[in-house]
């Protein structure tokens, strides 16, 4: 019987919170964008003239194929994160792409048409150095892989190893490069830095060493950086110190020929390391005799090796980027030269003569909000009249890929910086002009009755006008076929919608590029590249002024801190248009430790930002007189805390009136035992509607809603499964009082944590039971409130009641976040990003420490689910159905204007935006609401009433006559 009731209760509870999407709702309010990351290797698929593929391998360990006509992904393979999945090399031959991954651990061959794996071979240990195709008799049959101590040759068709040989003297010689020119030999090139060059030739057939030479080269330290193979096996090297080129025929010579650059009439730009670029269009044949030599940041030369003589074919200055490409049998050179500040031009040159090809100019407009071009990939093809046509893919510093066609039409751009979003915010869109007019009316002070009436009338007129315009547009669009009607989003027509469901997503990426994305469609509205961002910067994004203060533009501030120097800069911008604000941010000469957003506002309605420097002094931004005065008045109630996880020190400070600080509390975590991993307070924009929970006997258990509460997670430094632990500490950030402390033994991180309302949910790995576990802590004040009007941490004599419960979760998780709504009336859900890419929306009521083990009438009255250790994962709880978000790293939630609706953005390699309704859509009509039926019934009833009324009248009259 008890079981039956449990089943019934479970059934009711589970089916009351099912939140799946219907098939016809797919893509209605959600979108996903897939990215690949910064490109490391790119090859055009050249096997067919009309091929539309470009194969990319990226620094995010992604191997993908992109449609060159649309810029969309054909297929994508996401490998492991970190060095294990790192793509070391990519070779393309025909429809096979050979990839070396995981520092030479794996050799894989992929079919580029369908993205299927041909074969995979696990290679022997050893750090990967180089790889190349090996061809014989004009056919490519093998692939050679050079490792630190061994060289192996594999069949291209099935990956089987043909032979493997240990490299001679591999403990002294650093082998760095492997070369095959289509003859019967494979050359391994190694270097003993500042001493000599070692060349070992192996026979392709059986791996026997046919030749071993050691060449004097005291200036050489890195072959791959300063050398290239040209012509029939000639190793060409460039050296800065002697400012000369060195030449060596690896097949025959044993002495390097020095050619001073001065003899060619050239010199190297100061502090520049010359770079050689050669090309080998067919791996079964030796490389071309033409090569590029870069002598300065914008100085390139096209050189040719002609019977041991170096001939300058053409001097390109200025030239930003150069690239070789093959068109049929011809080899051409593409050169990008700066045209003016905003544009570059690309021209093609015949590689063997250096002549410019006619009608091959392409204008590439550089984005003023983007970075400089960094790499140029050219896809050349022969037209019907035997002239050369081409398309170019340009990679810029901000990780953008732009595909350009002649004469300069941008076919597509991909913002690959978005594959690495660091932090984001969602900002309300501004009101339209008319709405703002109406709003502004109430903001201004009254100036006479008549003028107010006139103003009201005029604003109403404007509203009417815009409404008629809207109707007209609807009518106009309705006549067009549906496919043509596009909701183009541009800066002009950005305005808040009825329920504030459309917002501006401000995203900060690790590359330092900022994006403004419309949350409804996913269109990038603006982008801004900050070119001075260091690679290991820490970012903090704050919204100082929202759009609510009409004549003042909204304002966001980005704090960029260089982790090496500790110095920080502020970038102040308008989040709607992306423009840099005219407000000059203060220069920060001292390293900044933390920043703190106060609810104080200055006379321009901008929230005050406090920056704490390493002297624990505070500076305010904006720092007007008004602000400073307010700060002085408020200083006794402004506190901040700092967590130094290298020392394991948590400290709390109080602001003094002179903007210096005073240490008021300190907690030490012994850094040799445990380290602080996460500290989380509550979100400042979180509202809690209900101050307590109703018990089964209709009394109230009041929540302990301390806005200053911090949840601190520590992990043990000892990682032994028997001794490792995870600690959680709830501490009051104002007084430093420890509210609760819990240690989970035999567990380890990574710990994911959500802290909201009166609860903390965290997830960890239990080494004892080898499973993931969720734990929830809830804090209650008890049956009576201590002080229901104000909350002060300094006046709380009683500690709260702490309830805790743990559950088994069947999957590991990537990220954890809680839904957030406008007023906090809607029940909460936890959004869990799973490694599979799914985002699970788990009702918070499953994580409730009051879940009873034995159900009673009271618990049933409270709708408590009986305790079950296992937490279910139901596929209908996946809010992103099959739109998986690869490598989800963070989830951002924002309230919308509707209480029922919470906006969710999940980011990682992909970006996915959707809406969730934790308590279903109780405040709007459903999507499938049958307007037609209801209105037709209404009309029918209305007419029926009219007719029957008339009939009744007639009948009455007749009866009266009778």
């Amino acid at each position: 019987m008890a079981n039956l009731t449990i089943i019934c209760v479970n059934f009711l509870v589970l089916y009351s919170c099912v939140a799946a999407v219907f098939e016809d709702q797919v893509g209605k309010f959600d979108w996903r964008q897939q990215y690949v990351g910064k490109v490391r290797f790119a090859h055009f698929d050249m096997q067919m003239q009309a091929s539309k593929k470009v194969i990319l391998a990226t620094e995010k360990n992604v191997f993908a194929s992109i449609n060159t006509r649309t810029g969309e992904l054909y297929w994508r393979h996401v490998d492991m994160v970190g060095p294990e999945g790192n793509i070391d090399a990519l070779l393309m031959h025909g429809q096979d792409a050979v990839l070396v991954g995981g520092d030479g651990r794996l050799l894989r061959s992929w079919d580029v048409n369908i993205g299927g794996l041909n074969w995979e071979i696990v290679l022997d240990h050893g750090s990967f150095q180089s790889t190349c195709f090996v061809g014989q008799h004009d056919t490519v049959k093998y692939v050679a892989v050079l490792k630190k101590a061994a060289i192996s040759v594999h069949y291209l068709s099935n990956g089987h190893q043909k032979w493997i040989e240990n490299l001679p003297e591999s403990d002294t010689v650093q082998y760095q490069s492997v070369y095959s020119g289509g003859d019967a030999e494979v050359y391994a090139l190694g270097v003993v830095p500042h001493s000599h060059l070692a060349i070992v030739a192996y026979s392709v057939d059986d791996g026997e060493i046919t030749k071993q030479v050691s060449v004097e080269a005291p200036w050489l330290s890195n072959i791959q950086a300063s050398c290239a193979m040209v012509d029939q096996g000639v190793l060409m090297c460039a050296d800065t110190t002697t400012s000369s080129l060195y030449m060596l025929d690896v097949r025959t010579q044993s002495q390097m020929t020095q050619i001073p650059l001065q003899s060619l009439g050239l010199d190297i730009a100061p502090d520049f390391k010359p770079v050689l670029v050669s090309t080998q269009p067919n791996p079964a044949r030796p490389p071309n005799s033409e090569f590029f030599l870069q002598l300065g940041p914008d100085h390139h030369l096209l050189l040719k090796l002609n019977d041991g003589e170096i001939v300058t074919l053409r001097d390109f200055k200025p030239a930003l980027l150069v690239s070789f490409a093959a068109a049929g049998e011809k080899t051409i050179a593409a050169v990008m030269t700066p045209k003016n500040l905003t544009a570059c031009s690309v021209n093609l040159f015949s590689a063997d003569s250096g002549r410019r090809l006619l009608d091959t100019t392409l204008i590439f407009n550089t984005d003023p909000n983007g970075g400089k071009p960094e790499k140029l990939y050219v896809q050349a093809f022969l037209k019907k009249d035997d002239s050369v046509g081409y398309r170019a893919m340009v990679q810029t510093e901000d990780h953008t890929l732009t595909f350009v066609q002649q004469p300069g039409r941008v076919v597509w751009t991909r913002e690959e910086a978005l594959s690495d979003v660091v932090t984001m915010e969602m900002v309300d869109l501004p009101l339209t002009g008319a709405q703002a007019e109406l709003e502004g009316e109430f903001g201004k002070k009254a100036d006479g009755l008549l003028s107010m009436v006139l103003k009201r009338l005029s604003s109403q007129l404007i509203l009417l006008q815009s409404w008629i315009g809207h109707l007209w547009k609807l009518f106009y669009d309705a006549r067009k076929p549906r496919s043509q009607v596009k909701n183009e989003v541009s800066i002009e027509n950005l305005s808040r919608d009825e329920f504030n469901l459309q917002k501006m997503m401000v995203m900060v990426t690790a590359s330092g590029k900022l994006f403004g994305i419309d949350s409804k469609t996913g269109t990038i509205v603006w982008k801004h590249y900050l070119d001075s961002v260091p690679s290991n910067a820490a970012f903090m994004l704050m919204v100082q002024r929202t759009t609510a203060h009409f004549p003042h533009p909204p304002q966001c501030t980005l704090l960029i801190k260089d982790k090496d120097t500790g110095l920080a800069t502020l970038h102040v911008f308008n989040p709607i248009f992306g423009k840099k604000s005219h407000i000059t941010p203060p220069t920060l000469p001292q390293p900044i430790l933390q920043s703190l957003m106060l609810p104080l506002i200055d006379q321009d309605y901008a929230k005050v930002l406090l920056l704490v420097d390493d002297q624990y002094k505070v500076s305010a931004f904006p720092s007007t007189k008004n602000v400073l005065q307010q700060l002085q008045e408020m200083s006794t109630s402004i506190f901040f805390y700092l967590v130094d996880n290298s020392q394991g020190r948590l400290s709390g400070y109080r602001l003094r009136t002179d903007l210096s600080t005073e240490l008021i509390w300190e907690v030490f975590m012994p850094a040799e035992v445990q380290k602080v991993v996460t500290v989380k307070g509550k979100r400042p924009n979180e509202h809690v509607h209900s101050q307590g929970r109703v018990m089964g006997d209709r009394s109230v258990l009041y929540k302990y809603l301390n806005p200053n509460l911090l949840a601190v997670v520590t992990e043990s430094t000892d990682m032994h499964p028997e001794r490792s632990f995870v600690g959680i500490l709830l501490i009051d950030g104002v007084t430093g009082r420890i509210i609760h402390e819990a240690v989970q033994r035999k567990t380890r991180g990574p710990v994911h944590l959500v802290h909201s309302e009166n609860w903390v949910v965290y997830e960890y790995w239990s080494t004892k039971s080898r499973r993931n576990e969720f734990s929830v802590i809830e804090l209650y004040e008890g049956m009576e409130l201590y002080n229901s009007t104000v909350f002060s941490s300094l006046d709380r004599p009683h500690l709260p009641q702490v309830l805790q419960q743990s559950y088994i979760f069947p999957s590991s998780i990537s990220t954890l976040e809680a839904t957030l709504t406008e007023k906090g009336i809607t029940s909460r859900h936890l959004l869990i990003g799973l490694p599979s890419g799914a985002i699970l929306s788990l009702p918070k009521m499953f994580l409730d420490p009051r879940r009873p083990e034995i159900i009673s009438d009271q618990s049933r009255e409270e709708n408590l689910i009986p305790y079950a250790p296992e937490m279910p994962i139901r596929t209908e709880w996946f809010i992103n159905y099959n739109q998986t978000v690869a490598r989800v790293r963070g989830i951002f939630t924002a309230p919308s204007g509707l209480e029922s609706t919470c906006l969710v953005v999940a980011y990682g390699l992909d970006i996915y935006q959707t809406r969730v309704y934790p308590s279903k859509q109780f405040d709007v009509l459903k999507d499938d609401y049958d307007y037609m039926l209801i209105s037709s019934v209404l009309f029918a009833l209305f007419f029926a009433t009219m007719i029957s009324k008339r009939l009744a009248e007639v009948k009455l009259l007749n009866r009266a006559w009778r």
Binding site: A538, L593, Y641, G681, P707, G733, S792, L794
Partner: protein, 192 residues
């Protein structure tokens, strides 16, 4: 009394216009001789072709003169009125028991009726007093009537209470508690 014919109009009916082709009849006509209507069946009814004079009724007229002796009958009637609400109470208790404490449409309707009826009765107290005017124990009866109604409404309130419709618990006022004002401003985090 002669019954009207099955197919005909009424007994003394207003004849309406008949067939179009027929001779034009009068728009209306009063047939004074009720028995001699057109129905042939009537004529052959075999009840005798008695013709009553106008205004004659077969029913006997009741005796309307007041009998002075039935004073205690009035008393009784007044007590009936006064005890009416009290008599309903056992019935109400039964309904209350039957309807249970779940909140659904029928119990709510019951409770509403139970609560509304005494209130209505109390509001029309003066009318009831007028009814009781003729009684000698008017005040006592009035008091009983009042008490009965009060008991009825008390019962309704008790029912509301047991159904949990009365805001008597702290949880009923929970939604009105404002979130407390925070005094301290706090922020910070990990050293960046």
């Amino acid at each position: 009394m002669a019954s009207p014919g099955g197919q005909g109009g009424g007994g003394g009916t207003v004849s309406t216009r008949g067939g179009a082709g027929g001779a034009r009849r009068m728009k209306w006509a009063l047939e004074l001789s009720l028995g001699n209507s057109r129905g042939r069946g009537d004529r052959q009814g075999g009840q005798g072709d008695m013709v009553y004079p106008i205004g004659y009724s077969e029913k006997p007229v009741p005796d309307t003169s007041i009998q002075e002796t039935d004073k205690n009958l009035v008393e009784k009637r007044c007590w009936d009125v006064a005890l009416g609400p009290l008599k309903q109470i056992p019935m109400n208790l039964f309904i209350m028991y039957m309807s249970g404490n779940t909140i659904s449409i029928f119990p709510i309707m019951m409770v509403c009726m139970m609560a509304w009826r005494p209130i209505q009765a109390l509001m029309s107290m003066s009318a009831t007093f007028k009814l009781l005017e003729s009684s000698s124990q008017q005040w006592l009866q009035g008091l009983v009537y009042l008490v009965g109604n009060l008991l009825g409404s008390a019962l309704a309130i008790y029912k509301c209470q047991s159904m949990g419709l009365l805001p008597t618990h702290s949880s009923d006022w929970l939604a009105f508690i404002e979130p407390p004002l925070r005094i301290e401003i706090m922020g910070g985090g990990m050293v960046l």
